[in-house]
Amino acid sequence: MSQATSEAARTPQPVLGLYDRPMWESIRERAMKLQCCTECGGFQYPPAPVCVHCLSPKLEWRVLSGRATIVSWVVFHKSYLGAYPAPYNVIAVRLAEGPVMVSNLEPPLPDGDLGGSWIGKSVRLTYSTMPDELVLPRFTIDDGEPKQT
């Protein structure tokens, strides 16, 4: 990370519990993985020591398909964080694998200002490199075309 990056603009750092670290490593490699239970087949987010669906400790990391659907979205009009000057959006998506995840929608944005809703729109996982080099999983509207990343 560059010394020139001001503290104010630093991306808020991820919570890094023991089980979060492999996920963030996979994000840095642009192939985000989540834990999948080998007994019940359930995926979970955020990562945890055991399967939150069946309590099994038998978890393996699997790369996500990248497909998801928007569940909700907001637009911040107040700035709380140096790295996020308002206005900016936050979305919640349901991953094809099951869990709900919070992220941002990258442009081009759908028309939301005339009462149009983002809810239900298909999105696809992408990766953004922040000015301080943190890689974030984000989403773009899925127009059905195969994407090269």
Binding site: P12, V71, S72, W73, V74, Y80, L81, V90, A92, V102
Partner: protein, 394 residues
């Protein structure tokens, strides 16, 4: 749930204990002093001043207190030391759980007269509810987990909830303004309320967004202050100065599965927790929403109110927009709700001042905003998916 399903009272906690004294600090004066750059006192000081008022209200002294439960913003030992009390039952809990725990300790004989004391210097101490040091992150992972994506502040979590809720249930976002307008209607008649100027629906709609779809008037204020309650046995309560306000029933259901990913907030809107909590509380009381004279909802954001009206059976699920428009929760409305003005307009005491309002309404002490012949009051909070209810009766 329908009224027909309510069972007979079953718990020995029912009417085992009563609130006999209430007190609070000078919210309006401290609001002005803090905004003028003064620091009236700290969280312990606010708690101590509130306890003095509560003791004076009931006519007891510290020597009568053998239990102490303090709010989450102060350390139990230090508050106990400042108050000069050596309790035989003591703990730290939020507003609704401190009342529940006091009832359980009293019924079990572990204490007779318990002081519940809350003090918070959140405004003068510049406590951050959004941003990298967001309050509560140690207890609720969801408050900090999504900060790399810029999701911070509890208001934003409710904005996400509300957007999905409107989509799912067909609620018109503009109807949310009816909550803020109604509560200002109530606070305009409350001499203790910090925000007393009535607002119109147009003023609500013209106010700026904080986190869209939520606007300025959907958010609670942040101010300094303290609240204290004295709870004792039903038997002792009858001999004291003020009419006892009994804790008639309690209920609780927590939705913790999926809490960090926000799933219960975004897909269930806490409905299943509220319905379970309601069933337990109404069964213990032996009556339900139709018999309630007053509804008090923890309202850090206005969104809590429509969710609670549906979840606790005051209207049908999906019908709360019509309920707010046609039946009403403000002065003159069908269901008086947050009659002090609540967190949006009276004072942000994290649910503690709502207990005082229940007590004063049931005593008949509320002057211009008094609910006529108020017999039963229902308080509920659903902070981070923990749905907890108390029913108070005179």
């Amino acid at each position: 749930m329908s009224e027909k399903e309510i069972k007979r009272p079953s718990s020995n906690l029912r009417r085992a204990a009563a609130v006999v004294g209430v007190g609070h600090t000078d919210w309006i004066g401290d609001w002005k002093r803090v905004r003028a750059g003064e620091k009236p006192t700290d969280s312990y000081g606010y708690g101590a001043l509130a306890l003095r008022e509560a003791l004076a209200d009931v006519g007891l002294t510290r020597a009568d207190i053998d239990g102490l439960i303090v709010g989450p913003t102060t350390a139990y030992e230090r508050m106990s030391e400042v108050l000069g009390i050596n309790p035989r039952w003591g703990d730290q809990a939020d507003a609704v759980l401190s009342v529940a725990q006091a009832v359980m300790a009293i019924e079990a004989g572990l204490a007779e007269t318990i002081a519940l004391v809350y003090g918070n210097d959140q405004r003068s101490a510049e406590i951050q509810y959004g941003g990298p040091q967001a309050m509560g992150g140690d207890a609720f992972l969801s408050y900090v987990y999504h900060s790399p994506w810029g999701l911070t502040s509890q208001g934003a979590l409710y904005a996400l909830t509300f957007r999905a809720y409107c989509h799912e249930r067909g609620f018109d976002p503009l109807d949310l303004g009816l909550v803020a307008v109604a509560q200002r209607g109530w606070s305009s008649m409350n001499p203790n309320a910090v925000m007393r100027k009535r607002i119109t629906l147009d003023e609500y709609r013209e106010a700026r967004y904080i986190c869209e779809p939520l606007r300025l008037y959907d958010y609670c204020m942040i101010n300094d202050g303290g609240v204290a309650l004295i709870v004792t046995t039903a038997e002792r309560a009858k001999k004291l100065r003020k009419p006892p306000v009994y804790i008639e029933a309690l209920g609780r259901r927590d939705l913790n599965r999926g809490a960090t990913s926000l799933e219960p907030r975004l897909t269930d809107f806490y409905l299943s927790a509220q319905q379970d909590c309601a069933r337990q509380a109404y069964d213990m009381a032996g009556f339900g929403p139709r018999d309630m004279d007053l509804f008090q909802v923890y309202d850090s954001f206005s969104v809590h109110v429509p969710l609670a009206l549906e979840g606790y059976g005051y209207c049908e699920v999906g019908d709360v927009g019509r309920f707010l428009r046609e039946e009403g929760i403000g002065p003159g409305g069908k269901l008086p709700t947050n009659t002090s003005g609540g967190h949006l307009s009276e004072t942000y005491m994290q649910g503690w001042a709502h207990q005082i309002e229940c007590v004063r309404q049931l005593r008949g002490e509320c002057g211009e905003r008094q609910v006529p012949d108020c017999r039963h009051a229902h308080y509920t909070s659903d902070v981070a998916g923990k749905a907890v209810s108390i029913i108070y009766s005179r």
